[in-house]
Every structure is written in C-alpha cells, then in structure tokens.
C-alpha cells in the first residue's frame, strides 16, 4: 500500500479499516484508501474481488442486501457514513450512481431526467425543463433526443440509455458519481462516447469507476485501485500502476496473466 500525500481539503472519501461480510463470507478486508476531489478513481480486479461491493458501499446501496454487515469507517467529507445521524437519502443525493446495465425508468426521457429533482421538491415546469436541457447537454445526449423528449426512454439505444442514466444522475447535482462497470453492456463506439464524457465530467465531479477493462482504467483514470479477493492490493497514480507496479500480483493482473 502506498501512502498518498494529499491536502486534506481535497479528500472526498476517506476509507479506514473497512471490512464487509455477506453472512459469514468476508468480501472486503481492511480497506484503506482516499478518494480525491475532481479525480477519476478506477477500481480494477478480477470478478468476485469485491470491487462492485466496495463502490456500492460508498453510497450504502449494499445495505439493500439484508445479510450484509460492515465494520470500519468511511468518512465522506469528514463524516462517517455509517453514523446514525447520516441518512442514506442525504448521502445518495450527494453521491450519484450509474449502474452496469442501463436502467432508465419506463417513462419518457423528460420524466427520467426530472425524476430526481422532482423527489427533491422541484415542481416548477420551467425549471424542470432547464434541468432537463442542461443535464442532457452535460451527458452529451441533448442533440440526439431534443426533438423527442416525451418519447419512452426504452426507444433509445443501449449507449443512449446509459447516457440518459448519467444525465438522470447529474440532474440531482451530485458531488460524487459512482459508476459500476458503466460500459460493460455497450459496444465500442458507445463505450468511447461514455469515456469522453467521463473525461469532461471530472472537471465538475469526483468520479469513481469500477471497470473490467484495464485499457479503460488506463485511458480515463487518474488513480487506480487494484482489488484481489477482497483486499486492496495496490492504490496509486494510474501511470505508476500501469508502468511500475510495486506488487507482483498487480503486475500479473495488468499484464494479463490472470483474471
């Protein structure tokens, strides 16, 4: 494990001694890492290594599985997210999530984007329309859908659906965006569009992305964390991880010897 020197104000997430169990199976073992503001943190590792579990712990979505237990602390801007005073609704408003499979609601494109703002109390039609346009523009989807905002979202292609899900996430004005293999269900062209998008979004957001593709991690991330069997093996600048990893297992994984 590398210790990364940081200015404390820039730390969004500070994970300390995080353990997680599914029933009796330990899925995360003593994770310590820090996620910094306006950086893209890629999380890589073979299937079943706990990378999805880890990212879903950051917004406590993992608690939807009833048998999950955790110990340790995840401090989000200094506040422990497992604290009793922390409400998941608040946390998830600040920390948006994009899923592996595009999951728009079976409603119109417009209704999808304004879902979040609406549940947080925005009713004014004009403001909702402005939110729709700015979110869709930020997600690089506006030009493709501006003439059919009231059509069902399921008429869009897979890549467009995923960008709609990103727009829907942006509409809540999150601070952090968690992405759980956002391009694994998409073709290469749609994937490269999402990657370009992530590159632009990091100016305004802190992004944490789980990916199966090491090329993707190398292309888009500033820092990379390598997980193996529930442990954080190595966490460093992406350049270091991919050119000069400290751990033999990291090197084996990124050179494709297993995984």
């Amino acid at each position: 494990m590398t210790n990364i020197e940081t200015n404390n104000h820039n730390i969004v997430y500070d994970v300390e001694g995080l353990n997680l169990w599914y029933g009796d199976d330990q899925a995360l073992k003593n994770i310590n890492m820090q996620i910094e503001k306006n950086e893209v943190t890629a999380i890589i590792g073979p299937s079943g290594c706990g990378k999805s579990t880890f990212i879903k712990t950051l917004n406590r979505m993992i608690e939807n599985i009833p048998i999950v237990r955790t110990s340790g602390e995840i401090r989000y801007h200094g506040k422990n997210i497992f604290d009793k005073s922390m409400r998941v609704e608040e946390l998830r408003t600040m920390v948006g999530m994009v899923f592996q499979k595009p999951n728009p609601f079976p409603k119109s494109i417009f209704e999808n984007v304004v879902y979040g703002p609406r549940i947080h109390g925005i009713k004014d039609k004009k403001i909702l329309m402005e939110i729709t346009e700015s979110s869709l523009r930020s997600a690089a989807l506006w030009d493709e859908v501006k003439d059919r905002l009231h059509d069902n979202a399921y008429g869009l292609s897979g890549g467009q659906q995923q960008r709609l899900c990103i727009a829907r996430c942006l509409a809540v004005q999150p601070d952090v965006i968690l992405m759980d293999e956002p391009t694994s269900a998409l073709d290469p062209i749609a994937t490269s569009k999402i990657e370009e998008l992530i590159d632009r979004l990091k100016e305004d957001y802190t992004i944490s992305i789980v990916t199966h593709s090491m090329q993707q991690a190398a292309r888009i991330s500033d820092k990379t964390a390598f997980f193996l069997m529930g442990e954080l093996i190595e966490f460093d600048n992406t350049k270091v991880i991919f050119s000069n990893p400290r751990d033999q297992r990291t090197e084996d994984y990124i050179t494709g010897r297993f995984g």
Binding site: P46, N59, M61, N64, P66, V88, E89, E90, L91, R92, T93, G96, M97, F99, K101, N103, P104, F105, P106, K107, Y115, G116, I119, H120, N152, Y154, C165, R168, C169, V172, M229, Q248, R249, D252, R257, F258
Partner: protein
Amino acid sequence: MMDFNTIGQKTFNLSTKGVKKVNTYKIKIDHDRINRRIKLNNISKVVFSLSTVFALIVLAILLYRIGVQSYGWLNFKFLTKNLSIFPEKAGIYGAIIGTVGLMLIVIPVTLVLGVATAIYLEEYATRGKMQAFIKINISNLASVPSVIFGLLGLTVFSRMLNLGSSILAGGLTMSLLVLPIVVVSSQEAIKAVPNFLREASYAMGANKWTTVRKVVLPVAIPGILTGSILALSRAIGETAPLVVLGIPTLILRIPKTIMDDFTALPIQIYYWTLDTVLTAEYANLAAATIVVLLLVLFIMNSFAIVIRNKFQKRF
C-alpha cells in the same frame, strides 16, 4: 479459489491439449425407433385435442340449454322490472342493483387492503421465516371454501357488528373472500417489477415510499388490475356466502342504501332454480338470469385480458 503463489509462477494451464475424446457410446439412426416415436407423437396429439373438445362440448351444451330456456324471457322488461311471484311479471332489476351495490363495497375494500398488504409483504417486510409464514397462510386462505367465509361474515358482520343481511354485510364478507386472491396477484405483479428500477430510484436519494409510489406501482398496476378484475368476477358469481348470510328469497323493495337488505344475481338464480318445483316457468327466469350473469363475467374477463395485453412487458 485462486492461489496467490501459483499466479506469480505462471502455472495456469488453460489449453485443451491432451484431453481425449470420449468414445464410450455412439448415436445411431434407428428408423424403427424414429417411426415409433412419430406414431406416439400423433396419438398424444389426438388425446390432447379430444380433452379440449370434451370441455368445449360440455360448455356448448350448457350454453345451448340456457339459451333455449331463456329465449323470449330475456328482454328489456326483464332487466328493468322488480321481482314478482308471477313469472311473466318478474324482473331482476333489484338483483342487478344488489350486485352493483356489492361491487361498490368489494372494489374499494379489496383494492385498498389487498394492494397495501402486497406492498407491505413485498417491499417493507424483512425477508425471513415470519414473512414466509404469512405468505403461505395468505395463499392458503385463497383456497378456503367460500361457505366458511359466509360463516365468518355471519358471525362477525351480521351478528357481532349487527349489520344483518345488508349490502354492507354481504360486501364485507365478499371482500374477505376475494382479498387473498387480490393480495397474491398483487404480490406477483410487484415481484415482477425488475429490481434495477428500484435501485435507480434509491440511488438518487429516494426513500421506499417514493420508490413504491413513483416506480414500482406504475409498472405493477396492469398486473394488479388484471388479478383484481378476475377476483371481482369471482365475487360476482359467488353464491354460498350470501346463502349463509341469509340473503332473503324475495325482496320487493329496491335497496337504496348500503344498510338495506338486498338480493344478488347468483342468489336469484339459486332460489328460482329451487322453486322450479312450484312454478315451472321459474326455470326460464333462472336461465335468463344466468345469461345476464355470464355476460357480465365475460365482459369483465375480456377487460382484464385487454389490460394485460396493452401493458405487457417492456423490459
């Protein structure tokens, strides 16, 4: 499980070299065997189609008999006139009003209680032994004979709450009878809503109730409606619980409020059929009433099918 030590030493062997082809058996084409199987297939086809034809023939005979018997008796006067002991003057207006009144109680009571129960069991209740126990018992309730629900209604609504044989007592009893069906079908409809939609909602900071109201219910409603309509059509045709409640034979006064005594279509059929011994024409009246009841059920079931087809799967 992966072994860390072997990973570094590149001892992974994924090649298929050296795997021998299995040669312990060989598939042969046997013409006799294939012919036998074709014959067997044809025989089963005939058996299965005959079973279907049998059911259709019975239904056709029933419809034919009813059609012939009710011919000439089923007219506008029959629908708009009240009961009478003279067959020529008798109509089922009172029974229609009674059945409509029953539905006005059953629909809101079962929809509210049934859907609320289903939402609780599927979305809120923590999965465990208790929830499984409740679910099994609700399914069991759906198969309890209707006469038992009649006795329950008689004890609780007619006697304890002193509602007598009013529309309210009958409606509440019928609600109890079909409630388990509505609960089970609503549960199925809610369960069919894909989980990734709930996750999308939770991930934006929505709580359970918002997610249920804005995501789960809109997707589940066609399924809930289909099940509920089928349950209601069962309530319309049920006779036994009303007999146990002591719904009177002959009501000459049209019910005006839900506290009034009433009669309903299936009850009317039941008593007219019984009284055929006294007056032969009552059989024709019963047949005409059956046609009306069947038409109502047919329309309701078609409605359920239309809803189901219209909102079918978009995922």
